[in-house]
């Protein structure tokens, strides 16, 4: 089954949100447009709309997460859903229950939507093939593969600042190899039609044949940032800073850290993004993170609107069907 057919119904409406790969330009754009509408909700005195009233959303996190889980929870609550947070990393599976048994148990509780984070690539796909047909699955990060809502909130942030995607050059810097965010960004940016996507890092952190995803590879930070409109820094996990992938955090910062001086080669109005949490002095200089070039905190607040949009779109399908 292709990404396309798994994620959308025969009418082309969003059914599950697993990956930005394989979704059309118009579908990605309508996610952004819907998020635009939901962004207003948080400024109302009552920060709620009744779209998911009576629905139960389960945050199914097999891997620790703070910001993604809380923004999904807030988004679901603002849509008036009931929210169940399950931290599986410390519960059922550690007692030996298999993933499918956990899913059966939750289905028996009549849940409507699973927000899934899992350490293994393809986990959200797997869960989608296992659940009852009325349940929607939203991927909140699977292994190195995909983190589509993060990519869409970044697209939302870029559109806010730049308007049009077509003329943009975007550089993604750091650990591309292990990054689900990078893969999702690359697909989304290419589908939305940017001029160029670059990935910047040492060969040890660039996955093989990544060019086939539609990117140019740069080992040199200065060449990679030359003339770009958007710089997306990736998080470098601590365990990867030492060992066979990198000699040290310090060496990485000297070569690929985003500093005031290196940022000068980018366009004057280039924005700086980061999926968080940031490592100051490892990926990014503190003064940049706190400057007006940085849109890192806006990314977080846009996360709520994007997640509201995606959840509403996935559930809208069933409401339409109910009326038919």
């Amino acid at each position: 089954m292709t990404e396309q057919t798994l994620q959308t119904d025969p009418q082309g409406r969003l059914k599950h949100f697993l990956s930005t790969e394989g979704l059309s330009h118009s579908l990605l754009t309508s996610i952004l447009d819907n998020a635009e509408n939901f962004a207003g909700v948080e400024n109302r005195p009552v920060k709620k709309v009744p779209i998911l009233r009576g629905k139960t959303v389960v945050n199914l996190f097999f891997e620790a997460s703070t910001r993604t889980r809380t923004t999904f929870e807030l988004a679901a609550k603002r849509l008036s859903a009931d929210v169940l947070n399950l931290n599986i990393a410390t519960s059922a599976t550690s007692k030996g229950e298999t993933l499918s048994d956990t899913l059966r148990t939750l289905e028996a509780m009549h849940c409507d939507m699973f927000i899934v984070r899992h350490g293994n690539s393809g986990a959200a796909h797997y869960i989608t093939t296992q659940v009852a047909p009325h349940i929607s699955v939203i991927n909140a990060g699977d292994g190195r593969h995909s983190h589509p809502t993060q990519a869409m909130l970044d697209m939302f942030t870029i559109r806010k600042h730049k308007g049009d995607f077509a003329p943009l050059k975007v550089a993604i810097v750091g650990d591309i190899l292990h990054s689900r965010v990078a893969r999702s960004e690359i697909h989304a940016l290419n589908t939305l039609g940017v001029t160029e996507v670059r990935v910047v890092g040492p060969d040890t952190l660039i996955p093989k044949d990544v060019e086939e995803l539609g990117v140019h590879v740069f080992n040199d930070m200065q060449a990679g940032l030359e003339g770009v409109d958007v710089v997306m820094m990736l998080r470098l996990q601590r365990e990867r800073m030492i060992g066979a992938l990198l000699p040290s955090a310090n060496e990485f910062y000297n070569r690929y850290g985003l500093t005031e001086s290196i940022l000068k080669v980018a366009k004057k109005d280039a924005i700086v993004m980061h999926p968080g949490p940031i490592n100051r002095g490892v990926e990014i200089e503190s003064s940049i993170a706190d400057s007006n070039r940085s849109v890192i905190l806006q990314q977080v607040s846009h996360g709520i609107a994007i997640r509201m949009a995606v959840m509403a779109m996935c559930m809208q399908r069933y409401q339409d069907e109910g009326q038919e």
Binding site: S121, G122, Y126, R180, K208, D209, L213
Partner: protein, 426 residues
């Protein structure tokens, strides 16, 4: 009791025979090919009209899952599945539980095989205790108990000194070493071929060098120790070139490939198809083409099933968490003949790669239709049309990547020692 198989197209690669003729069987042995022995009286006549009559297949790698993994499969079910593919002999790797590193386990397997009586089971002994790559196994004792060769299965021997000593010791026991070349450091926690597919799916990659680095190390130690070696499950074009060169230089090496790698590539993983989670991983189309060419040219002389039946739970998880391996034994012959239908292999070469060549690798006078040898053979209808359905497999393992494929060839009769072990319903 005399049996005659008449009117079939008899193909025997060992004697380069391809002729419409009859085969005469008495007391479990072949007593005549094309020529009725004096005084032969047929009590049973089998018509093989418009069908092939070929030696029984010898499959170099079938995991029956006994002893130790009976939740996945049992020897009786898997040998029955094998006989459906015309197989009369299998080679069983040492990675059972317990590992085949003591004579008792060899005898246990032999006893079970004799009880079942569906195929001859040849056992590979472990080359190191527990397949741990730390201490040599008692190879001499294993050989005396009936092991046909020694191997560390899919586990690498990380210490090259131990590998050298293991090869030397095997050589002095006059045992062939079966090697699945794999560098565990380069393999790391990989689950898919390193390339555009693993990058797109975010699956931990296995580079080509995981195989070729280990292969080149093994070749140098084979040269040094003089041991005879058989390379199992080559998966890359580069490995083929290396083995070809070694053979040309006169090293005592042979090689096989499993049937999945001749039909599938990493593209077939598509969106995390767990039935395509194999070890070695499915490689690129370029590799697949090179592997087929290697079989055609005789660089790779045997094709095996590398049968790994799994229970449902083993394949019911996100891709990386599933166990590698496919259930393939009963599709081996139709899938190899599928390559003949596609004009990728000659019929004679294809059959040799399943019969006389694996026999030669194992040092057996088998896989042929020689008068005086046991009547191990099968009859194949080359002109059927059937669809693979995982639920209808005889194997307990339903984990086939070939579900839904259409096949032309089908075995109608399999015979071991002159006794019918499989007969298709007409």
């Amino acid at each position: 009791m005399g049996i005659v198989i008449e009117k079939g197209r008899v193909i025997d690669p060992a004697s380069n025979l391809d002729k419409n003729t009859s085969i005469y069987i008495d007391k479990g042995k072949i007593v005549g090919v094309g020529k009725k022995p004096v005084g032969f009286a047929a009590t049973k006549t089998i018509s093989a009209k418009n069908q092939l009559v070929i030696p029984g297949l010898i499959d170099l790698c079938v995991r029956t899952r006994e002893p130790g993994y009976e939740n996945k499969a049992r020897m009786d079910t898997e040998l029955a599945a094998a006989s459906k593919s015309g197989i009369t002999s299998i080679c069983s790797p040492p990675d059972s539980d317990p590992v085949v590193d003591t004579p008792a386990v060899v005898k246990l397997i032999q006893q079970r095989a004799n009880e079942i009586g569906k195929a001859k089971v040849y056992t590979l002994g472990a080359i190191t205790k527990g397949l741990k790559g730390e201490q040599l196994a008692e190879m001499h004792a294993l050989k005396n108990a009936g092991c046909i060769a020694v191997s560390n299965a899919q586990y690498s021997i990380n210490n090259s000194q131990i590998m050298r000593r293991a090869f030397e010791y095997a050589h002095s026991c006059d045992l062939t070493v079966f090697i699945q070349a794999n560098d565990s450091g380069l393999q790391n926690n990989g689950v898919a071929n390193e390339g555009a597919i693993s990058t797109r799916l975010g699956l931990p990659p296995i580079p080509e060098t995981a195989e070729t680095v280990a292969l080149s190390q093994a070749l140098l130690l084979i040269e040094q120790t003089g041991v005879s070696a058989h390379f199992c499950r080559l998966s890359t074009a580069r490995s083929v070139a290396m083995v070809k060169k070694a053979k040309n230089e006169g090293l005592p090496v042979t090689a096989d490939v499993d049937i999945c790698h001749l039909h599938l590539t990493d593209m077939d993983i598509a969106n995390y198809n767990v039935d395509c989670h194999l070890q070695p991983p499915l490689r690129s189309e370029r590799d697949r083409v090179a592997l087929i060419k290697a079989v055609d040219e005789g660089v790779i002389t045997a094709v095996c099933s590398d049968h790994q039946p799994h229970d449902r739970d083993a394949k019911s998880a996100p891709f990386s968490l599933t166990e590698p391996g496919a259930s393939t034994v009963e599709l081996l012959l139709p899938l190899v003949l599928h390559l003949v239908e596609q004009n990728k292999l000659s019929l004679m070469n294809a059959i040799a790669a399943l019969t006389s060549n694996p026999a030669e690798i194992l040092g057996l006078d088998a896989g042929n239709l020689t008068v005086g040898n046991p009547a191990d053979l099968c009859i194949v209808n080359m002109d059927t049309d059937w669809q693979v359905n995982r639920e209808q497999l005889n194997s307990m393992g339903k984990n086939t990547p070939f579900h839904g494929w259409y096949m032309q060839a089908a075995v109608t009769t399999t015979m071991m020692n002159g006794k019918i072990t499989y007969q298709a319903r007409s």
